[in-house]
């Protein structure tokens, strides 16, 4: 394992500390309990938005803390949900009197820990509503599983919910927007290589030189199938088909097309992926109204990408376009 780290035990603390040092104008870091909040503090009268989960997915979530998006982010250990304490602290720090929305990726650990935190925050007199993100179509038979995983679509949910909160929507309205964004978002990913959890020291899984994993999870959880490496266009077809069938997306839909790098795949490849995905959507009469390309929801240094498609209505489009000023996503100011 080759990484630019010091003691594997300190990876998250040191990385978050560096993040805070690099963006003092945008965020402030609480070291213990560990969470990242807006430098300006909670916006009085506005709904607070808190997300979090295991680390190793940077810039998710801390990179999305700032005007127009998250109020605070709670980074857990690598690939492990944070415990309730820091979630409670982040929730209290994010309350501007209008309550707090928890945006939680659908993993048992995250759900249980945020659940406990929400109870405790409620006990402290802060109203909390939780929205679960589960956009990963790679997981089949949701009924017989822990349900679909939350993956790159989380960025879309956090962006539009943040914009809704910024314009002054109340807690239920913001939650409704987040729920609607999640309901209209589908994702699926592929891995060419595995990331290595620092304290584990060995790759989470091993792929032969000529194989890839279709439907990979952002923690390296295996996906639908292992196949031989094939040209990018073919891989895009394999990811896009289940995404489009699932919602289903139809001709005439306006969508956001989001190509997400897994951490070890450079932009030059991500744009090759985007090119064919855009081609396919065009053929199907689906209009790509907005786009996002980059490594936003990563899995350590994993090589691979995920595709996310969100069906946009006028309001979601307006909320997507609204000004945002975070370390990882910024426009309009």
């Amino acid at each position: 394992m080759k990484k630019l780290i010091n003691d594997p035990k300190n990876v998250v603390d040191e990385s978050v500390a560096g993040f805070g040092l690099a963006h003092p104008d945008i965020v402030t870091v609480s070291a213990d309990p560990l969470f990242v909040a807006r430098a300006q503090g909670a916006s009085q009268g506005k709904v607070g938005i808190v997300s979090g989960g295991g680390s190793g997915h940077e810039p998710l979530h801390a990179g999305f803390v700032g005007f127009g998006m998250l109020s605070a982010a709670v980074p857990g250990p690598v690939f492990t949900s944070p415990t309730p304490d820091p979630i409670v602290a982040a929730t209290l720090a994010s309350d501007g009197g209008a309550g707090v929305l928890h945006i939680v990726k659908n993993y048992t650990g995250d759900v249980l820990n945020f659940e406990t935190a929400a109870d405790l925050a409620d006990a402290e007199g802060v109203r909390v509503v939780s929205v679960i993100v589960d956009d990963d179509v790679a997981v089949k038979d949701s009924l017989y599983t822990a349900g679909r995983r939350g993956v790159a679509g989380t960025v879309v949910v956090e962006k539009v919910a943040g914009a809704a909160a910024e314009r002054g929507d109340d807690l239920d309205a913001v939650a409704a927007i987040a729920t609607r964004a999640n309901a209209n978002t589908r994702s699926m990913g592929v891995a060419l290589t595995s990331g290595t959890v620092p304290h584990a020291g060995e790759p989470s899984f091993v792929l032969p030189e000529d194989e890839i994993e279709i439907g990979i999870g952002i923690h390296g959880e295996p996906g639908r199938e292992r196949i031989k490496l094939e040209p990018a266009d073919g891989i895009v077809d394999r990811l896009l088909a289940p995404i489009l069938e699932d919602l289903p997306f139809a001709s005439g839909d306006k969508v956001l097309l989001f190509v997400n790098g897994m951490g070890g795949t450079p932009l030059v490849e991500q744009y090759i992926v985007y090119r064919h995905a855009a081609e396919v959507l065009a053929e199907k009469g689906i209009e790509v109204a907005r786009s996002l390309v980059g490594s936003f929801v990563t899995s350590l240094e994993m090589q691979g990408v995920s595709l996310t498609v969100t069906r946009l209505d006028d309001e979601l489009t307006e909320l997507w376009d609204a000004p945002v000023e975070t370390a990882a996503l910024r426009w309009g100011r």
Binding site: P77, V78, T80, S81, T83, T108, A200, P222
Partner: protein, 230 residues
């Protein structure tokens, strides 16, 4: 539990002979800290096969914290208070799925124990049952879902039966530990319906569930501790 009158009289006689106090809890915790750190990488490997490779890390972090807390445990604490400390510490240090689940197990178990200073076989069974029920309450898993419940429920059943047969707390815990160990092994052929492993479908077959394995290690530590302090 529904032990027959006869049984209940029997075990009242036996348990009168012996019961477990606070030193059992502290010894159990000490042994758990050891067994978890010795098995840390093994549990990481199991979790890497059907999860995300952090289970051993999570528990090790949690029980190391418990050890620190126990260093300053008031001498006059009751078993219940000590078990509650384990619960809150795990909840606030483990994270992941196993943190809230195991934490709730100790929390509900502690509540069942109340402020008793000595635990007889019935109390041990009540503790284990409440603990298991706590995990089910939070995680909604059933036996056969390939989770830690596949260790806990057989353990509770075996403990209940042992107590009904008038066995001592040590014997009750040993029965629970043995059943949990078998339960953990029995998760290998299963498809998972809860937790990360459930994403794998058939590909989880042939792998032991890390949480079931860790729970059986924890219950074995409980029995060993009882042996030692008896």
């Amino acid at each position: 539990m529904t032990a027959p009158e006869a049984g209940s009289t029997t075990h009242e006689r036996n348990t009168r002979q012996m019961s477990l106090g606070i030193n059992w809890v502290t010894t159990w915790v000490a042994k758990t800290v050891d067994v978890v750190s010795t098995n840390r990488l093994r549990l990481v490997d199991l979790d890497r096969e059907i999860g995300d490779g952090d289970h051993g890390e999570n528990l090790d972090r949690g029980f190391t914290a418990v050890a620190t807390k126990f260093a300053s445990l008031p001498d006059d604490s009751t078993p219940g208070a000590a078990l509650k400390l384990v619960a809150t510490t795990l909840i606030s240090t483990v994270g992941g799925a196993s943190g809230p689940l195991l934490g709730t197990a100790y929390l509900k178990g502690a509540q069942a124990v109340g402020d008793a200073t000595e635990l007889d076989s019935d109390a041990v069974v009540a503790f284990l049952t409440a603990a298991r029920d706590g995990v089910v309450l939070r995680g909604k898993a059933e036996v056969g879902d390939k989770t830690m419940i596949d260790a806990w429920t057989p353990a509770v059943d075996a403990a209940t039966a042992a107590a009904a047969d008038g066995k001592s707390p040590v014997e009750v815990l040993r029965a629970a530990a043995d059943a949990a160990a078998q339960g953990a092994v029995a998760t290998e052929p299963l498809v998972a319906h809860k937790g990360r492993a459930s994403y794998l479908g058939d590909r989880a077959i042939g792998h032991r569930d890390p949480g079931a394995e860790s729970s059986s290690l924890i219950l074995a530590a409980a029995a060993d501790a009882a042996d030692e302090v008896k």
